[in-house]
Symmetry: C2
């Protein structure tokens, strides 16, 4: 059941040279554990995996695994532009005690389905850890079709997918189409915080959540309401999140959640350049959106 429930993706606080702030990371991870999320999604897009070097990623994984002491499992993003690098990162994650892997088809030269298939097969079979296909076309510029997902589901250790959630009107049909492509025990989960409540109500078994990495308590409440099929409570909590999610859509969740972490004194650092910190005016809007969440 590793790829089920709420997976909380913390930022990876790091100084301007890319050195991870282990104390700050531990604080974030501890909050997730205490709030009762089902897993920590370390080094996802939110966790800057494409901006940190191998040594710093290893430090982050070791610290998080150590901090959690086995209570909450750790899923680690191991995407990179090279197959051999992703294999090395997967082995690092295993050696550090992680429980699962998350692999995105990162590209520079645009990739074809056969290339992505071979890449995933090589990384998935390099360790015994279960692996989730991280389908994130907005950053990788590669979309994992259901045809490709069916092939990937036949590879040893590939047991789950993290798909982008769609608007509510399209979600039920999209979820059924994905289900029909994979075995019954293949775990279909979703990301895209502002759309995920409907994805869970439509049958998704996991929420891969940016905001749960920073504010795990209200995120757990939202997830429990959606899992229970309680549409009224789901809508009530979603409405409280909406000001923050409007900023996610406008400014990107990556920038907003880094600014929010600073405002909440959970990180001292900005995102890595060339990403710029939010303007003072936008930071004020983030403060207002965070205030709205106090009544969850």
């Amino acid at each position: 059941m590793l790829f089920h429930g709420l997976s909380a993706f913390p930022i990876t606080p790091a100084d301007p040279r890319g050195r991870v702030d282990i104390d700050a990371l531990n604080s974030l991870v501890r909050r997730i554990d205490e709030a009762g999320a089902e897993s920590v999604g370390l080094l996802g897009s939110t966790g800057s995996y494409m901006y940190l070097n191998r040594e710093e990623k290893r430090r982050a994984i070791e610290a998080a695994v150590d901090c959690l002491g086995g209570r909450t499992p750790v899923i680690v993003g191991v995407g990179s532009l090279r197959t051999d690098q992703s294999i090395a990162l997967a082995q690092d994650a295993r050696d550090a005690g992680a429980q699962g892997l998350l692999l995105a088809p990162v590209s520079y030269t645009p990739l074809g389905d056969d290339e992505v298939f071979e890449h995933f097969a090589a990384v998935a079979t390099a360790t015994d850890l279960p692996l989730c296909v991280y389908n994130n076309p907005g950053t990788t510029h590669f979309s994992v079709s259901n045809t490709l997902l069916r092939r990937l589901a036949g590879v040893a250790n590939i047991v789950a997918v993290k798909n982008p959630a769609l608007p509510a009107a399209d979600m039920v049909a999209a979820h059924r189409a994905t289900q029909s492509a994979v075995p019954a025990d293949f775990a279909i989960g979703y990301s895209g915080d502002w759309l995920v409540a409907d994805a869970i109500l439509s049958g998704g078994v996991a929420w891969y959540s940016v905001i749960a990495g920073l504010l795990p308590e209200p995120a757990v409440k939202l997830m429990r309401a959606a899992q229970a099929g309680d549409r009224a409570e789901t809508q009530r909590i979603s409405a409280l999140f909406e000001p923050l999610w409007a900023l996610f859509r406008e400014l990107s969740s990556y920038r907003v959640v880094h600014a929010a972490a600073n405002l909440l004194d959970l990180s001292r650092f900005d995102p890595p350049r060339p990403i710029l910190p939010l303007s003072p005016a936008d930071r004020q809007r983030v403060t207002a959106a965070l205030d709205a969440l106090s009544s969850v």
Copy 2:
């Protein structure tokens, strides 16, 4: 006049672990020098800059500069996802004796204009080398608008742009629009081999060429015909290149030129995984396309 004329972009032959084959690189660079191209474009997209680590890139630059002995200048691609990394790569290129820099706005988290501007300003002013803006939306997923280019042209050391060439019907207007955005001495050049002859006939001052990295002699002939405004000779040579360029469009120039380098015994290695080598059937098509070029 560094960013004028024919800039030939060789592949960077490397073993499956990403170790550069210096002998093979030197052979490619020597061919470019002997054919009379105006510059070598080292570590461009064709030269796998996003797939090689800093140490290997430094080895490649040092070898190429040494091999050329100052006869043909070397322009080095220094793009990366982090500003501090691109600064370090630019300083490595300067220390190794390169004559110019090429910087692409590589992205994972999608970037805004202000972020790209600050990134370019930081890298361009980190050395005294002249820098060309490498606008390559097909791989970076960021398009440098003329509005942004105007701002960039005001930064010290930023003196040129490498834009994607457009179909002939749009090329004159596009070139004029770019010209109107930048100072008169700003060098506007083009990439996209199969479209570049018209871009030069339209006033472009540089051809940043994939095929010139492998077959510099016929590429020089095409460039000289276009520079002379000889439309008949330009069309005659372009027609001989067309079978190869049809394969560039279908399979990507990156894959095709790696296969062609193997077929011509100029490299022993395939591109880095996850990029797959061409199928035997496609390799036969490359052989046929290369044969067509013997009559240039």
